[in-house]
Symmetry: C2
Subunit: 149 residues, 2 copies
């Protein structure tokens, strides 16, 4: 089991939009950097748009950020790309026997713990803004460099 790559793709896309705001970012172009198919990009971009994180121009093409860099956290992206149904990272088995003392009571106890674990994960994502990510990326790029793409 793994959290879908839509998340990392979404972050990658937004980082591209942030780092070169002037460019004409078509799905074709973005697909080139992400290393996938343009349709996959359009799907993720559609989700980012629906969540109010990106603007996409139909027809002429090209995507831009819809919010300030400071106002996008990785949790926003995580939520946007529909990678986990809200509150349900863990799958609880569904028919514990209500006639068994453990079966009857374990569900609520476990659910609370699962929620706590999930919140801890989301807290880490919420603590990182796109600006911070892009700043780190920009520094990496400055030190190591890389050809254009």
């Amino acid at each position: 089991m793994q959290i879908s790559s839509r998340f990392s793709i979404g972050v990658h896309i937004l980082a591209l939009l942030a780092i070169r705001p002037q460019d004409h970012h078509t799905s074709e172009w973005l697909a080139g950097s992400v290393g996938t198919n343009p349709v996959v990009i359009r799907r993720v971009l559609g989700l980012l748009k629906k969540a109010g994180l990106a603007n996409v121009r139909a027809g002429s093409g090209g995507a831009t950020l819809a919010r300030e860099l400071d106002e996008i956290t990785l949790l926003d992206v995580y939520r946007a790309v529909d990678v986990v149904e809200a509150g349900n990272l863990f799958h609880m088995h569904e028919q514990p026997n209500p006639n068994c003392p453990v079966g009857a009571n374990i569900e609520q106890v476990l659910r609370l713990l699962m929620l706590k674990a999930q919140s801890a994960l989301e807290g880490v994502l919420a603590a990182v803004t796109l600006r911070e990510l892009v700043d780190v990326l920009a520094m990496e790029i400055r030190t190591k460099g890389a050809a254009n793409g």
Copy 2:
């Protein structure tokens, strides 16, 4: 996407073994409380056994805890049931373009963050022992009660 119910099933099983240590816990019996098929129980129990958390007697049947209640955390169970390949809760897209400055550098930055998020989740699970869980369960049972099963 969801983390497999093998985790909640595993916890449920161990809680049953803990709460009524004297009983003869066959896969049939456990399946009754969990609300699933005996084979599903045997599969999870096999994983718990492999991880050194439970003993299972072949032939005569019956499972018991292999460790003290204090020495089993929910993280142990989580790891045992193979619900997530170690260190890979998030699926990173696989071919970022090395010729693009973002594609070339985003992987390591994102991987670090994913690892942090995952560790936060696991930290919550690691902080709860089976004893604590069973204590809470026992209290629930005492207050609310429930028929046998």
